[in-house]
């Protein structure tokens, strides 16, 4: 007998389909990243005189693609029109006509072959990555150098070539000179120092591998991949790096480790002069794990770049927000602390919003040995170092601590840290003062805690973004932390 579909059944079915569609739509966005496991990983770096930027590389049908509009926008004026299948683009005075699924396009009146289909997704044109070397000169009118295997695109610039000079003194030093300031991410592990250049157009020094006639610093190598260039220096002693010559020179020094250390002479550093201590320079991975020497405990430093995300902090200029200065400063401080052997937990490493309670909780949970909050201000000069504005005694609640006065027991040590930072900054001729402030989350962390507010120097507001100025301040703070290192430790 044939079944009869009534209007009620139809309505129920339609409702069920609608509900299922809604559920699928709600789940889809979260499922999408897992469907594209490499979507976030690959990127191409573009270096040009007007802008340096990176773009995500998308995998489509086994080929790598990049967004055309995103590629051209930082370089000049771009306008597009799309009807879903056809995309018309104008870059400055160059007109181009693209059709989805076609391998050929019309650019400035000439036919161009991509070698793979042009794609349009959500009115966004995607071009095959492999075509960039030939495609871009048609728009820009200048030659480009595209290193496809490394995903690095040089437009109108030759790149920064490093040169090496070995100073075979004791300890030996390797000087890397660059023709422009560089800002690599530096990490160390036993016997190796790695510099990753993410935004600098650093190119090969001429040879992929260089050997040095030195027993300590033996070898350097260059490689590039996924939009980054990397320089690795190998040695049979721990290495540390510092910047000079306005970040045009990186000095890599070997830190000589005594052949035998007596237990009576632990490597814990008691003075600022000991900041170059080899035993501390050795474990530089970003974790709180200890090393084999039982006399040395690895102190975790929680560095908190204040503000972030929607919370911009002070408007230092019309375009410069406090949150951006504190993040850059925090990254420099992390580097300075790491090369002195500290493990560092950066409480914010992007433009993310965190509440003050979240920051305090993160510091407390990490059981850091010390907490440093970083701020910046447009008035005044030098720096101001703050400890919490609390009575030292605090309120005793047995094993529990009052959230708003959790800092009270650690306040004496916080003041010692503050005094150490002031002393180190004064050595570097920074105008600096110590004070107390009712500043959260200083009150809420139970380890020694200070806040450093960086103010302009002699060059005015430009100092706040000057790597040199920040470097001086960061190195002073790091040396101060070294000087109190033996008083910091794992918290109860």
């Amino acid at each position: 007998m044939p079944s009869i579909t009534t209007p009620t059944t139809l309505t129920k079915k339609a409702l069920a389909i609608l509900l299922a569609t809604l559920m699928l739509l709600s789940v889809a966005p979260s499922a999408l990243p897992s469907a594209l496991p490499f979507a976030d990983d690959k990127h191409v770096s573009v270096y040009s005189p007007v802008a340096t930027y990176t773009l995500p590389v998308l995998d489509r049908a086994g080929r790598e693609y990049v967004g055309l509009l995103e590629l051209l926008e930082p370089l000049g004026r771009v306008s597009t029109q799309s009807d879903g299948r056809r995309l018309r683009l104008r870059y400055d005075t160059v007109d181009a006509d693209f059709v989805a699924g076609k391998t050929r396009a019309k650019i400035h009146g000439r036919d161009f072959d991509f070698g793979a289909p042009f794609l349009i997704e959500n009115s966004r044109g995607l071009v095959p990555l492999s075509s960039l070397g030939a495609l871009l000169p048609l728009f820009l009118g200048t030659p480009v150098n595209f290193r496809e295997s490394a995903r690095r695109l040089f437009i109108g610039i030759a790149g920064i070539q490093p040169s090496f000079r070995l100073d075979a003194g004791n300890p030996p030093r390797l000087l890397l000179n660059f023709s422009a300031p560089v800002n690599p991410t530096i990490s160390t592990e036993p016997g190796q120092l790695r510099m990753v250049f993410k935004r600098d157009p650093v190119v090969s020094p001429g040879s992929q591998s260089i050997s040095f006639d030195n027993k300590v610093i033996t070898h350097a190598s260059y490689s590039e991949d996924n939009g980054n260039a990397e320089l690795d220096v190998t040695a049979n002693q721990p290495l540390m790096a510092s910047f000079s010559n306005d970040r045009r020179t990186i000095v890599i020094s070997a830190v000589m480790v005594p052949v035998q250390q007596t237990p009576a002479a632990p490597s814990v550093v008691g003075t600022g002069a000991g900041s170059q201590n080899p035993a501390q320079a050795r474990p530089a991975a970003n974790s709180a794990a200890g090393n084999n020497n039982n006399n040395v405990h690895r102190v975790l430093v929680a560095v908190d770049p204040a503000h972030g995300g929607e919370e911009r902090g002070a408007a230092l200029t019309d375009t410069l927000a406090e949150k951006d200065v504190t993040l850059g400063f925090a990254r420099l401080l992390r580097h300075e602390l790491e090369i002195r052997g500290f493990a560092v937990a950066l409480l914010r490493d992007s433009d993310a919003t965190s509440t003050l309670d979240q920051r305090a909780a993160a510091a407390n949970v990490s059981r850091a040995g010390i907490y440093i909050s970083l701020h910046a201000v447009s008035q005044g000069s030098g720096a101001q170092v703050y400890t919490a504005l609390l009575p030292v005694e605090g309120t005793s609640n047995g094993v529990f601590r009052t959230w708003n006065a959790a800092q009270a027991p650690a306040l004496p040590l916080s003041r010692i840290v503050s005094a150490a930072i002031v002393a180190e900054m004064q050595k570097r001729e920074f105008p600096v003062r110590a004070s107390s402030a009712s500043l959260r989350p200083l009150n809420n962390v139970f380890m020694p805690a200070v806040a450093v507010e960086l103010a302009p120097g002699t060059e005015g507001i430009a100092d706040l973004t000057s790597p040199n100025y920040q470097q001086r301040a960061a190195s002073a703070i790091a040396d101060a932390v070294v000087s109190v290192r033996d008083q910091l430790g794992v918290q109860p």
Binding site: H375, V377, Q379, G380, Q384, L389, L390, A437, S438, N443
Partner: protein
């Protein structure tokens, strides 16, 4: 004779015109209400009258990062609460003069001060005070310290001070100085 559908059309248009008129009137009223908070940016109390007294105000100095005691002769009313309000308004007038050592926004004002025994004071600032205050740890803390210490010195018995903005608790003054808890007078005096 006028056709029926024309009558209905005209009636509908009339109803629409009346409804639009009512709606417009309501919109105007709402716009007026929205404008009224701007008035809170203006001073909320008339100048005080009474015998002139010499008082000590703690005036913040941004350049030195400290509070400096300064004598001032101001007319003070008899009541303890009004006296406290006038003291802080006198302090504000210094900060609002051109070339002040610690400039505060011209529209900044003290809405009220509540003295709650034993030993507590609540300072209620207007919105302009906080919204237009310069952002920075030093600048904000100096403002707080200056208000608290001036109040504590001239109004005996105050041990704790809370700061509200427009009658509401607020996390920070201008992004830094924490206003969520009360300020202990002894601790602030000890920090100077």
């Amino acid at each position: 004779m006028i056709p029926r559908h024309l009558l209905i059309g005209v009636a509908a248009l009339l109803v629409l015109v009346v409804a639009m008129g009512i709606y417009l009137r309501q919109m105007r009223r709402q716009a007026k209400e929205l404008e009224s908070p701007a008035a809170s940016a203006l001073p909320v109390a008339p100048p005080a009258s009474g015998p002139t007294e010499t008082v000590t105000l703690y005036v913040a100095d941004d350049a030195a990062g400290v509070l400096r005691p300064r004598s001032a002769q101001i007319p003070l009313p008899g009541g303890r609460q009004q006296r406290a309000e006038e003291l802080l308004r006198a302090l504000l007038r210094i900060y609002q003069q051109p070339g002040a050592p610690h400039p505060l926004p011209p529209a900044a004002d003290i809405r009220a001060i509540y003295l709650v025994d034993p030993g507590a004071a609540v300072i209620d600032l207007n919105a302009a005070f906080a919204d237009q205050h310069r952002s920075g740890i030093l600048s904000e803390q100096l403002t707080v310290n200056s208000l608290v210490e001036t109040l504590a010195l001239n109004v005996p018995g105050i041990q704790r001070v809370n700061i509200l903005v427009e009658g509401q608790t607020r996390d920070t003054l201008a992004g830094h100085a924490d206003l969520s808890d009360s300020f202990d007078v002894t601790t602030i005096e000890g920090s100077q």
